[in-house]
Amino acid sequence: MSQLPVIFKRELASYFATPLAYVFILIFLVLSGVFTFYLGGFYERGQADLTPFFSFHTWLYLFLIPAIAMRLWAEERKSGSIELLMTLPITRFEAVTGKFLAAWVFAALALLLTFPMVVTVNYLGEPDNGVIVAAYLGSWLLAGAFLAIGSCMSALAKNQVIAFILAVSVSFLFIVSGLPMVLDAFAWAPQWLVDAVASLSFLVRFDSISKGVIDLRDLLYFLSLIVAWLAATAVVVDLKKAQ
């Protein structure tokens, strides 16, 4: 019998056990509003779409998602409850996946609470709601990739602050690998290497999804990234749990 839902339920509930979850959601909503209306020039553009809203998600997630992920394993190790968890009859897969899914659903909740944006843009004009749905899906996948990295970093560090910083750093690498300044640094390299580095970038992948283009390869990219980082999490949990 799979105990994954039990782990998932406990983890999700623990987000709401402290005011932290509400504070996080509030910050996310305020910041995404600020980015959309001020930096994104939502009104000035005069277009009925949510591009200004989604285009800042990568940068928003860079700092907010590690904050959700940092407690996943670091707290268990700090309090010693990891010894309890890992001696219960559950597999590592159930523990790692259950925790990740709880964090991912929490991120989905925060994302869904931005629905006033959709209402606003539909009130003001006639946007392509298919594009918006696709962009939401892409944004959620992006959050999942950040979370999987954060989960692994949280397993690596016993201290939540260190887990946060590690997660931000690694995630940052995955973002900037698509920026021209990084790619220019690879000017000496063969084209295939430049393409490989660029193809790792969240920015490039997310950009196409947020424009409503759901490419199977982009979906596979995010999903395989999540799977790979979760597998790494399981390995790290095993190596580090007793320390």
Partner: protein, 307 residues
Amino acid sequence: MIELKSLTKRFAQHTAVDALSFSVQPGEVLGFLGPNGAGKSTTMKMLTGFLAPTAGTASIFGHDIRTRTLQAQRLTGYLPEGAPCYGDMTVRGFLEFIAEVRGFRGAEKRARVERAVAQVELERVLGQDIETLSKGFKRRVGLAQAILHDPRVLILDEPTDGLDPNQKHQVRQLIQGLAQDKIVIISTHILEEVSAVCSRALVIAAGRLVADGTPLELERRSRYHQAVTLVADGPLDEQAFAALPGVAGIERNAAEHSLTVLAQPDAVILPQVNALVAARGWTIRELNVERGRLDEVFRTLTRGEAA
């Protein structure tokens, strides 16, 4: 039953558990003794599947802890050292979580939680967050989660550490009250606990087994076994005691006119001592026959190994 076969755990620098082999039968309450760092907790962590052994293995009712970890874990209830819990959960929420992980749902889940709560008397704090509880209550929450599924094997790492005498008594009573067909392994360095609850004591030092027997047998190893301690009103003649048959030696105690007469192994010296006291007409205020001092046995056994 539990069977350890040359169970070994090496960390980078040292060997924490060194080829430990023994078996435990249902009905036994095993006291696991040893100085700090002797490998007690590491052994327990391997038995519960938290750490993988470096070499050797162990089985719990036939389930190898390396290959059939989940099956072994299902049969086991475990209280880790310091009784870690999820502090942000309420006692009820936490125990219900454990019950669900253990596969109980609905009415059975509620019944299990209720029974465990009654067994360790947690009714008063059910709705409280665990982190707000006192040490004694936290320990009881840890015990409750360990016994919730009525496991055949109960492994408790220092269950009474840091508790006050009343709480210690309660925990011991709980252990004694458990069903007779269980295996209970308790690690401790409180020696009177071993005499109080254990049917068998196992002493390890530096990862190796140095003694295995009933608490009584361990006490018999003490040089104070069957020793007679006397407190008199006037001076006592040490030479006369030393000359008695079966006497191994005399020790002077801190109190005035007080002697401890040591017996040779397997000798009973009380009659001789009594006869001598009567013959000389000494007034004796106190007379004690000792069963043996566990702490002394413990020191001899574990220091010898460390040296």
